[in-house]
Every structure is written in structure tokens, then in C-alpha cells.
């Protein structure tokens, strides 16, 4: 077990080193390419001169182009808006980027009667595009937002990208190059060439070259040699976008280009197939960590204490609602710290659900020890009560818990796409698990808890207040469930039904792993997660789940005490 987990721990770090090293290499060899540079520089100078001359020579002509282009936006037709974007990009006016930004963010409005286009600020004031002065005498009823659809958005992204290729910020240039790659707008080629000439950063330059390749490779008019070079560049990119592009080239071209595209395609496909199986294991670990988080609290209340706790899922749900409450409160009182709301929510939800857990134990469960059927019914009833209570308090609708920046998006890791939120949940699950192990093994509370659950009367005879330990242990399990709720609020609906969807899985994990054994829960969660995700591509999500359930039924027949059965006298007690 520990070897496995060490490996999982080490590989990302190792990978990081490899990545860093390769970046360094690239940085060292990059600027040495002098011959190439000189040629490009010459070209570049010529281009800059040319554009400077244009700028000086034609302010008047530009004004007209710009105004003409703007008129396209006033017709409320998507095709016209698209033409407007092309015309605006061609006009070369310095205001273009501003208009594009306004269009993308929905701040561009058109007067339906006069066909004039304005900026509309967030406070609903209307501004002139050229002077940015407030226009007072506009009839607000005639103003209509310039609408965009996906086709317009795509054109807009590409045009914005083309303009941003020369931005001083490296990140913006990289995004721009990516936008041009996705946009496939042949009109971007000249600007792209200029940008490639100017680019000093190897990473950005590589993406720019790929974007260039994406424009040239499908172009039937381009010379064959250039297309072949472009196909090689796409092959080196090697991701799904490149695959898609190559597939369409292979389908629509002939001769050498077709063969090259086909070869590149096969190459990418075999690489991606290998990656996808690794990717599936990663997805499995991610699902396993969610299962672990959901089940780990139950491993205490059900596994260690033996209470069939049907209200476990509701503790998870309440934890998620605490997260929502914390976010609302921070939005109101400390909006600057909202990024850190989860750090507040984790301990708070532990305290809140832990307290509720103690309350439940004292008021209901303590009367029912040794009566599993009654416990089951009572806690099931309790779960319905808690659900409906939350529904009455917060409404039946989902609540929006926003993910902090470090938990949203995904990053590329040697071709594996890793979702940041999922990665942090794995880390969080591991931390919770090991801290819990520590509490149980290395604190006196843990010792007492184990003593009470193993032999109540003996522990009592040794002077342990068993009632107090029962309450605290149930509180601990509930509190951990609450912390799981914080994590789950990031990936699932925050609704009164949140807990219901996890309760079955949680019991499954605990029973499969072996009741009373935390390591069993750990192994079971990860095993079920990985097995589920390895099955899913072959049999689908629905059948995959059924197959797993059947497997567990058979497994429990063979080994009723689960993967890691407790041995010794405690079992019989």
C-alpha cells in the first residue's frame, strides 16, 4: 500500500523536474538560431516601416473605414456583425480592440433608428466610441445590445487574438496564438508572420508556429512543401485539436499531403490511445478520492462504532451548505478574501456538523445502541427531516458555490489533462485520511475511542467515560462528513439531495473495505474508483456501475467481512 501511494506522490514531482529541465534546454538553444533570426528581423523592419507609413499617411481614410465598419453592428443580424468584425479588423484603427472588448462583454449598443453604435457602461450611461464622452441625448428605448452568437464569438476570438499577438504580456500573446490556432482565419496570416518574427519567447513562438501551420496545412492553394512542413508541426503538437485538423486534411486532400496527414494522424492517435489509458487511471483515482471523502466519516460512525447511520449523507450536505453560507458571508463582509473562503469553510463545517453529530448521538442514537434495525429507521427518518429542513430554509434550488481560482480550469501534464479542482480534492482526501489516522493512533482520545468500541465494559471499568467518548466519536465522524461536503460542493450540486447520492456509495466502500478498518476504506475507495473508470469507456457509465455492484455482491458472499477483516475478540463482541 505505502509503496503505491509513494509512487503516486512522487511522479508529479518528478515530472515537474523533467518539465523544468526541458524548458531550460529550450531557453538555452533558442536564441542561438541566429541565421534565421537575421532574415526574420530584416523582414520585420520592412514591415514595421510599411505600417508606420500607412499610419502616418491615412488617418482620414481610416476614419471612414472605421465608421463604415461600425455600421455593420447596427442591423441586429449575426451575419452583418460578423462582417463588421472583419471590416473593423481590416480598418486598422487603434480603437478596434476597445470595440471588440465591448462587443465580447456585451457593452456595445446600437441605436435602431440612427444606426449609430455606442459603448454602454455598467451604470447604463452611453458613451461615444471615439471620444468616450457621455452622450446625453440618446433615447434609451431605441438602444439595443449588439447580440453575438457562437459564429460571431468565434470570429471575434480570432480577430482579438490576431490583434493581441503583439501584446507586451507573454500570457496574452500565448492566449492570442491559441485563439488564432482555434480560429483558423486565413486573414490572420500576415499578422501572425509579423508576430513570429518579433517573438522572443520560445514557448509562445512554438504555439504561433503551430497556429501558422493550422492556417497553411488545410490551404489547398499553399505550396505542397509548405503544407508538408505545416503537417509536421501539427504532428509535433500532437493533441486532439491537431488530430481533428489532420483528420479533416486527410479527408479533403490528395497525393503527398494526404499520405503525410494520414501518417501524422496515425502517429498522434497511437500516442493518444496510450495516454487515454493513463488518463483513465487518473480519473479513477479522482473518483476514488471523492468516494474516500464521502465514506471516511461513515467509516467512523458505521465502521468503528457500528451505528448504521443513514443520515451520514445529510452531514455531507450540511457541510456543503456551510460552505455556501461562508461564501455568502465573505462576499458581504470580506470580498477581498473570497479566494480563501474554503479555508474558512473546512474547519467551520467540521465544527458545525460535528456539533450536530454530538446532538444526534445524545438525543437519538444513544438510546438505540445494540438495536441496528431501530437505528436504521431512526437515522433514515432523521435524514428526511434534515433534508426537508434545509429545503425549507434555503429553498429547493441549487446554490451556487463558486470555485476559487486555484481550483478551476485544468492544466496539461505531459499530455494528461488534469482538472485542478479534482487534483486538490485528491490532496484534501489524503490529508483528511492521514490526519484521522493520526488522531486515532496517536492521541489519547483515539486510544479511548478504540478501547470503547472494542470492549465497552472493560473500557468503562478502566475509568473511561464511555458516554462521552460515544458522543465525541459520532461527532468526529459527522464532522469529517461535513468537511467532505466542502470538497463535494466544488464538484456537485449544492442542493438538499446532495447527500442522498453519496450514501449508498459510502456504505458500499465501507462494507467492501472491511467494517472497522480505515485502511480498508482507503483501499476500497480507490479500487472502486479506478475499476469504475476503467470499465466506463468499455461498457458505459450505467452498465459499469451494475458490473461493479454485481462484483461486490459476489465478493461479499465469499468474504463477508470485506477486504480487510478485523481479527480477534473485538469481532465477536
Amino acid at each position: 500500500m505505502s509503496a503505491f501511494e509513494l509512487q503516486a506522490d512522487r511522479s508529479p514531482v518528478q515530472g515537474m523536474f523533467v518539465k523544468l529541465a526541458s524548458l531550460k534546454l529550450a531557453a538555452q538553444f533558442g536564441p542561438c538560431n541566429l541565421q534565421n533570426k537575421a532574415g526574420v528581423l530584416l523582414k520585420l523592419c520592412a514591415k514595421i516601416l510599411l505600417s508606420l507609413m500607412l499610419l502616418v499617411a491615412a488617418p482620414v481614410a481610416h476614419a471612414d473605414d472605421f465608421d463604415d465598419a461600425l455600421e455593420h453592428f447596427a442591423t441586429d443580424k449575426f451575419a452583418d456583425t460578423q462582417d463588421g468584425i472583419a471590416a473593423l479588423a481590416a480598418s486598422g484603427s487603434p480603437l478596434t480592440l476597445k470595440v471588440f472588448d465591448a462587443l465580447a462583454s456585451g457593452h456595445l449598443v446600437a441605436d435602431t433608428e440612427t444606426s449609430k453604435v455606442y459603448f454602454q457602461a455598467d451604470d447604463d450611461t452611453v458613451h461615444d466610441i471615439r471620444t468616450d464622452a457621455v452622450v446625453p441625448d440618446v433615447d434609451a428605448d431605441n438602444l439595443k445590445k449588439v447580440r453575438i452568437n457562437n459564429a460571431v464569438r468565434r470570429a471575434l476570438d480570432a480577430a482579438q487574438g490576431t490583434l493581441a499577438l503583439l501584446a507586451p504580456d507573454k500570457v496574452k500573446r500565448l492566449a492570442a496564438a491559441e485563439a488564432v490556432f482555434q480560429g483558423r482565419d486565413a486573414a490572420a496570416l500576415p499578422s501572425l508572420d509579423t508576430a513570429i518574427g518579433k517573438e522572443r519567447d520560445e514557448g509562445v513562438k512554438r504555439v504561433m508556429m503551430q497556429a501558422r501551420a493550422a492556417l497553411i496545412a488545410p490551404d489547398a492553394q499553399a505550396p505542397e512543401a509548405a503544407r508538408l512542413v505545416a503537417i509536421t508541426a501539427l504532428k509535433d503538437r500532437g493533441d486532439q485539436d491537431a488530430q481533428g485538423l489532420l483528420a479533416s486534411i486527410a479527408a479533403s486532400s490528395s497525393g503527398k499531403v494526404k499520405t503525410a496527414a494520414q501518417a501524422a494522424l496515425t502517429n498522434i492517435q497511437s500516442n493518444l490511445a496510450l495516454l487515454s489509458s493513463v488518463q483513465n487511471v487518473w480519473y479513477g483515482l479522482s473518483l476514488g478520492s471523492v468516494l474516500l471523502l464521502a465514506a471516511i466519516g461513515l467509516a467512523i460512525t458505521f465502521g468503528v462504532m457500528g451505528v448504521i447511520n443513514m443520515a451520514h449523507g445529510e452531514m455531507v450536505m450540511i457541510g456543503a451548505y456551510v460552505t455556501f453560507g461562508v461564501q455568502q458571508a465573505m462576499q458581504a463582509y470580506a470580498p477581498g478574501l473570497i479566494q480563501w473562503s474554503l479555508l474558512v469553510a473546512v474547519p467551520l463545517s467540521f465544527v458545525v456538523t460535528g456539533f450536530i453529530g454530538v446532538l444526534i448521538e445524545r438525543s437519538i442514537i444513544r438510546f438505540l445502541y445494540g438495536r441496528p434495525l431501530e437505528t436504521l429507521l431512526a437515522t433514515f427518518g432523521l435524514s428526511l427531516v434534515l433534508q426537508q429542513a434545509i429545503r425549507t430554509m434555503f429553498g429547493a434550488n441549487n446554490r451556487d458555490v463558486t470555485a476559487p481560482a486555484f481550483m478551476s480550469g485544468s492544466f496539461d501534464f505531459f499530455g494528461l489533462s488534469i482538472t485542478s479542482g479534482r487534483m486538490w480534492i485528491i490532496v484534501f482526501a489524503l490529508i483528511v485520511f492521514f490526519v484521522l489516522q493520526l488522531v486515532l493512533r496517536a492521541t489519547s482520545f483515539g486510544l479511548r475511542m478504540r478501547a470503547v468500541t472494542q470492549n465497552r465494559r472493560m473500557a468503562s471499568a478502566m475509568g473511561i467515560d464511555t458516554n462521552r467518548i460515544d458522543a465525541l466519536a459520532f461527532g468526529l465522524g459527522s464532522g469529517i462528513a461535513g468537511m467532505a461536503g466542502v470538497a463535494l460542493s466544488q464538484i456537485d450540486n449544492v442542493s438538499p439531495n446532495l447527500g442522498q447520492s453519496y450514501i449508498i456509495d459510502s456504505f458500499l466502500v465501507v462494507v467492501f473495505g472491511g467494517v472497522g478498518n480505515l485502511w480498508g476504506t482507503f483501499v476500497a475507495a480507490l479500487t472502486l474508483g479506478v475499476a469504475n473508470k476503467l470499465l466506463e469507456p468499455f461498457v458505459g457509465a450505467v452498465l459499469g456501475k451494475i458490473v461493479l455492484l454485481v462484483f461486490i455482491i459476489l465478493f461479499i458472499q465469499k468474504r463477508p467481512r470485506g477486504l480487510f477483516a478485523l481479527k480477534g475478540r473485538a469481532v465477536e463482541a
Binding site: N150, A247, S276, N397, T402, S495, Q500, V542
Partner: protein, 435 residues
């Protein structure tokens, strides 16, 4: 505290007294017209159905302020079937035989509708069903005010195939594993094939209810979409599972400009639970959006926000369906001069009322209504803005012409035909029960 016999007696007495008081109240209120509301207020479906109960109460309240119906006040009878399908049938029976309601507005899921059908047929009452559904049904006692597949799914696919929608060539049909997505996808698959789409360009995927781990499927969609042809996802994923699905799409960076997702079960209500900024441009197909800019809609939204005392409350398509259904029922009752179900059922056909999107919706002989179809794009503020809509209203095809078993069937509840599944080839009516 202790439960002694005397206490028990006292409690029973109090209960009995209460019951008698209630009964006498019922007798006094006999000159009202009762309207049943059969929507889940607890359980899984409460998320969607509670809103519909509220909108019905508002409509009844409003009608009473206008002077009621046939000179009588309307009285709402609300029951809670608790997202439990057999309980729907029980509660429906209770509404009709015990409370003697004149019409029932209710149900959301198809399975709940199927569960109450026999009750409405047996006790001869009226049900207004406000949700878009898979079609393949037409019942004498049911009026379907939501969309049939050709009023939602097929126009959406047409839009995506058009140049404006991106000339999509490759399709992912993703849905939750139950009757509505399965039937809709069957119809869509047949339709796509009839338009010349090859089998290998269609990927069909089903997931369990409440599916929350979408990593594999989203990766699969991305892979399917990188075959060099423009790809789109047609989603019949059930409400709750959508939030994690869209979150995963956002995280994986699949933008609407790359692979647009058009959803049939995602409305303003569902979007209220997500940060929609990464979803901008993904599509939804409905017959109504809150963002529709008509005087009727603006007035309705204003009333709704005032009624719920919540300036952020959203409106959605099934709510509009209830508005249309209720207004149609009022008009039909006035036309028939009675609330007798048989008379009202006959009077309903041909009734036209304004919908909230600036047109007229008419009840057709197949007990479905005419509706405009709208495709909207999700905006950063959680609203959906229309990018395309049918020029007029569309008549529902309750029996899909794209399915083998149903292409020859029609429904016509006018006399003397009065049949929900007439086979036009054989000229025979398939029987009264039409499933």
C-alpha cells in the same frame, strides 16, 4: 409528557374536533371551483416542481381578483406527491374523488404522468401537463402544454445543421438513462440518419440519474469532437446532473465555439446554481426564455417577482406552459359554461390564448398546443438570449413520423373520431388506452 390513556383520549378528541371543523368548512366553501395542484414539494423533484406550485397559486389568486370563474371563486388544493411515482396516482385519486377538483395541474417527469394516467381516465377528470416530453402519447383526459419532440429537439438539431448554427456534421447524443432521453434520442437518431448523417458520426451515451463524475465522458466527447468535423452535443441530461457536467466542460476548457452543447432540460432555474461564465454560448432549446422582450412577458415577470417577494426569482418554460394551460382552461370553462370535465374537454379544442412570447397558442385536436421554438445561448448572467426562432408557431407531432411504430398514427379528439392513436393506413383506432 407521558403518553397516558387520558392524554391519548384528549388528543383523539382534539383531532376529531379538528376534522369536524374542517368538514364543516368544506361544506361552507361548496360554491367555489376547486383546482388541484399535483407537484412534488419534497424529494428530488422539488427543485423543479415547487416553482410550478407557486406559479399556479399566483394565477389562481389573480383570477380571483378578476372576479373568479363563472361567478365563483377559485380554490387551490395543493398536495405533495413527494417525488414518489406511485404516490402521484394516490394523490391524484384523492384530489379527484375526495376534494372534487375540476381540473388538475401537475406532474413533471414522464413516469409520474404515466402513473396518474389510469386514474384520470377512470375518474374522468382533466390534467394539464406543463413539461416538454418525449411524445408518443395522446390521452383524452390530458392536455399537454409542454413541447413535443418536434417542438424542441428537431428544430434545435436543424439549427445546428444550418450554416448559422455552425454546420454541425458529428453528433453526441448524451442523456440520463430514462424514458424521455431514450425516446428523444431514438427520434433524433432516426431524424439525423434521414438527413444523411452516418452511423459513425453519431455517439450515444447514457448516464445514471444524478451522475456527478463526468471526467471520462467529457474526455470522450472531446475525443469524438477531434475527428475533423464540426461536432455538437445534444443533451437530454436530467436537471440535477447538469451542474457537474457543465462544471467539467468548463474545467476542460471545451468552449461553445469548439463543441456547442444544446440542452433540452436546462433552463434559467437550473443555471441559477452555476457560475455561467465558462458556459457562455452553449445552447438551450425551449419555447420560452425569461429574456424574451415582449410586454406580456415583462408584465408576467414583474408580477411573479412581486408575488414571490424575491427580485431574483427566475421564470422558465414550464411556468409559461402553466400560464397558457390555465388561461386555456379558464377560457374553455367560460365557453362551456360549466366545469364538467366532458364539456370542458370538448370545449378546449380550438381555444387560443396569447403566450408570453408575443404570439397565440392554440389547443389542437391532438390535445397538444402550438408553440414557437426558440434557440438561445447561455449568457454570463445566467440568462438565455434568443439567437434563433421559428417564424411562427409549430404544431406538435405527438406521434413521431421518424419512428417505425408511430409514423402512421395520429390523434384527433374531435367527435366523431375521438381517438388518440388512429392508424391512418388501416383507419382503425388502436383502442382507448394509448400507450
Amino acid at each position: 409528557m407521558s403518553l397516558t390513556r387520558r392524554n391519548m383520549l384528549r388528543a383523539t378528541g382534539a383531532l376529531l374536533g379538528g376534522a369536524i371543523a374542517l368538514a364543516s368548512f368544506g361544506a361552507q366553501a361548496a360554491d367555489t371551483i376547486k383546482v388541484g395542484i399535483l407537484h412534488s414539494l419534497s424529494g428530488t423533484m422539488a427543485i423543479s416542481e415547487t416553482t410550478l406550485k407557486d406559479v399556479m397559486l399566483m394565477l389562481i389568486d389573480e383570477q380571483n381578483k378578476k372576479g373568479g370563474l363563472l361567478g365563483k371563486k377559485l380554490e387551490a388544493v395543493v398536495v405533495d406527491p413527494a417525488s414518489n411515482w406511485p404516490l402521484f396516482a394516490e394523490k391524484a385519486r384523492e384530489l379527484i374523488s375526495k376534494d372534487k377538483v375540476s381540473a388538475v395541474f401537475g406532474c413533471w417527469t414522464s413516469v409520474s404522468r404515466k402513473s396518474v394516467l389510469p386514474v384520470f381516465e377512470e375518474l374522468d377528470s382533466i390534467l394539464f401537463y406543463p413539461v416538454q416530453y418525449e411524445g408518443e402519447e395522446s390521452q383524452r383526459n390530458v392536455f399537454y402544454t409542454g413541447a413535443a419532440p418536434n417542438q424542441q429537439a428537431i428544430p434545435a438539431v436543424d439549427y445546428l445543421m444550418s450554416k448559422e448554427g455552425g454546420s454541425v456534421k458529428r453528433w453526441v447524443l448524451a442523456g440520463t438513462d430514462y424514458v424521455y432521453p431514450r425516446t428523444t434520442n431514438k427520434i433524433l437518431e432516426a431524424y439525423l440518419k434521414s438527413k444523411g448523417v452516418a452511423s459513425e458520426d453519431i455517439m450515444i451515451n447514457y448516464t445514471p440519474f444524478g451522475h456527478s463524475d463526468w471526467q471520462t465522458i467529457v474526455a470522450d466527447i472531446k475525443k469524438f469532437g477531434s475527428a475533423g468535423k464540426k461536432t455538437a452535443v445534444v443533451s437530454t441530461i436530467n436537471g440535477d446532473a447538469n451542474v457537474p457536467f457543465y462544471k467539467e466542460l468548463g474545467n476542460k476548457g471545451i468552449k461553445a465555439t469548439d463543441i456547442p452543447v444544446v440542452a433540452f432540460s436546462v433552463g434559467e432555474e437550473e443555471l441559477a446554481g452555476i457560475d455561467t461564465k465558462p458556459l457562455v454560448g452553449h445552447l438551450a432549446a425551449w419555447n420560452y426564455f425569461q429574456s424574451i422582450d415582449t410586454p406580456d412577458n415583462k408584465a408576467f415577470i414583474k408580477k411573479w417577482k412581486a408575488y414571490t417577494k424575491n427580485p431574483k426569482r427566475t421564470t422558465n418554460d414550464p411556468m409559461e406552459a402553466h400560464v397558457i394551460g390555465f388561461n386555456m382552461w379558464v377560457k374553455a370553462v367560460e365557453k362551456a359554461g360549466s366545469v364538467d370535465p366532458d364539456k370542458v374537454i370538448d370545449a378546449m379544442i380550438g381555444v387560443s390564448v396569447p403566450n408570453l412570447t408575443g404570439g397565440l397558442s392554440t389547443m389542437m385536436p391532438n390535445h397538444h398546443i402550438t408553440k414557437p421554438v426558440m434557440i438561445g445561448e447561455i449568457q454570463g448572467d445566467g440568462q438565455i438570449s434568443t439567437v434563433w426562432q421559428t417564424p411562427g408557431t409549430v404544431v406538435a407531432q405527438e406521434w413521431s413520423p421518424y419512428l417505425e411504430g408511430s409514423k402512421d398514427l395520429i390523434a384527433d379528439w374531435r367527435k366523431p373520431l375521438s381517438c388518440g392513436n388512429l392508424n391512418v393506413k388501416t383507419g382503425k383506432c388502436g383502442g382507448k388506452a394509448t400507450n
